[in-house]
Amino acid sequence: MGLFDVKIISEHFDVPEARTLEYFERKGGYRSARKACGMGPEAIAAEVAASNLRGRGGAGFPTALKWSFVPKDADTVYLVVNADESEPGTFKDRHILYWNPHLLIEGMIVAAVALKVRNAYIYIRGEMARENKVLQAALDQAYAKGYLGERIFGTSTSLDITVYRGLGAYICGEETALLSSLEGGRGWPRLKPPFPAVKGLWGKPTIVNNVETLANLPWIVEHGGKAFADLGSGRSGGLRLVSVCGHVNKPGVFELPLTVTGRELIEDVCGGIKGGRKVKGVIPGGVSMPVLAPDELDVPFEFDALQKDERIREVEVRPGQKFDLGGNRTLRTMAGSGGVVVMDDTTDITQAAWRIIHFFAEESCGQCTPCREGTGWLAQVAHRIAFDHGRAGDVDLLASIADGIAGNTICALGDAAAWPTLAFLTKYRDEFEAKVRNAHRPKGAA
């Protein structure tokens, strides 16, 4: 039995009965929730801190640290589950919601005890009608059994969970936009600080955690934080759900050790590239993250490694000028949401880049000028390059617009549009320039 056989979350994926409370309990479910009710907040927080659990939504922020920002004397604390999975290439949370909804509920109970939460909300993507039904049915079962509501499991803990559906806005996956939406408004991000842990939903301290993050908590309570940390690598504990799409033989969702490299993921886990072709580029963590070239795939897909490993080139604004991430930091790439997009050597990189940029232009909430206008300009320029109408200077123009957006907006959507743009230009510049060189020219034009 190798490391690939250890499963924390995905063990019962593809088992339809796993959605029922009876099956889940038979397999040991809700034991950790009961245990947590008797442990008390400090003991749970200590285990989570020891586990090195990092947020699985995209930022990889240590979960225990996020929790620790909640003021100790807060009278009301909210827990909000970010189930608004919309990062292109990412489809792992949808699997948890559909195959194992009770695992999320149990993780929420653990978190609620740790944070002294009485009311929790699950903000689920509106398009996920199927998962909404499954989740609601699981909640109804848990309520009927007395695992939710007043005095759960007969203890002094009470917890209500309410499902709230989004209505189709990528930006609502950003935690402050999510809160604006959950309050019944437009999904507009808010300036941070104050962070939601201090001032969140209706002005109260609020912890927003990703579905997968919470689904890891029952295992941590059962086996202890150290065991979880030991499964991981460096400062990142546990395993990771990775969703793979694109030109691989076996796309899907896989729960893997964090030490797995991009090449192992493609060759050993996903059965190689379709048709025996060669890989041309891999996006490691959702389309917001800089693409990796074929010679950068021997780095483990772990949070710190993808940010710091020198085998990955630093993203540039133009050849020789490194992109400044602020604070003297440069940008390689990040593990993001675990959404891996694999592109083979038949892929037109300029068209792939345009489609990603077009997405961000569609989804900009419109609050900040650099993003609202900038993503639109990026999309126009990227479109004309990709579809053979590029003009001289367009490649530099694209880079300059992207550099003008990055770091100048309330939320990270601006960066999410700029970073992949610059990374595509850094690593595939020749292709963009060739497209412009060979563009159709109107008659009489130079």
Binding site: L167, G187, W202, V341
Partner: protein, 190 residues
Amino acid sequence: MARHPSFRARKAVPGKELSTQIEARIQQLWPRFPEGRAGQALCLPVLYLAQEQHGHVDAEVVDLVAARLGLTSAHVTGVATFYFMLNKVRPGRYHLQVCTNIGCQLIGAYDVFERCKKRLGVDNKGTSADGNVTLTEVECLAACGYGPVAQIAEREKPEIPLYFENLDATRIDAILDALAEGRVPTELGS
């Protein structure tokens, strides 16, 4: 200066009302939110249910929702226009939504989308001449490993909790044929 019709003073809209099912849902959800916050918090869910009832969200539906929840029509308009899943224009009987984002693009989504456009004789966001199908290009539906993927909604009917995955010419033709016959091919969904 002419004002947006939805900014009119709040009043009952003759001939249109929110269904008793929506009222029941409001009663059910109201206590789930803190004192004084429920009205606004219910703006999204009630708008979505009202769309299911009336087919789309126009100024009248905005007024109905605003009046019921004690919100200004301006706020509800702001919300209604922000979210993609709320139709501001009345769609055809079926609303076919095809993802063309990167995961689907790489494996042929634009071929599928172009085929839909050609067969329906419409452009993106267009409705076929017989009013039967509205075609919309949508962003990632979180099914990237099983693409190209589409979702179908039927106007004024309960939502269809299915995705239509692994689309190719054959499968999209079967879907379009079924829609033309006036039925949603749920057997092709998952």
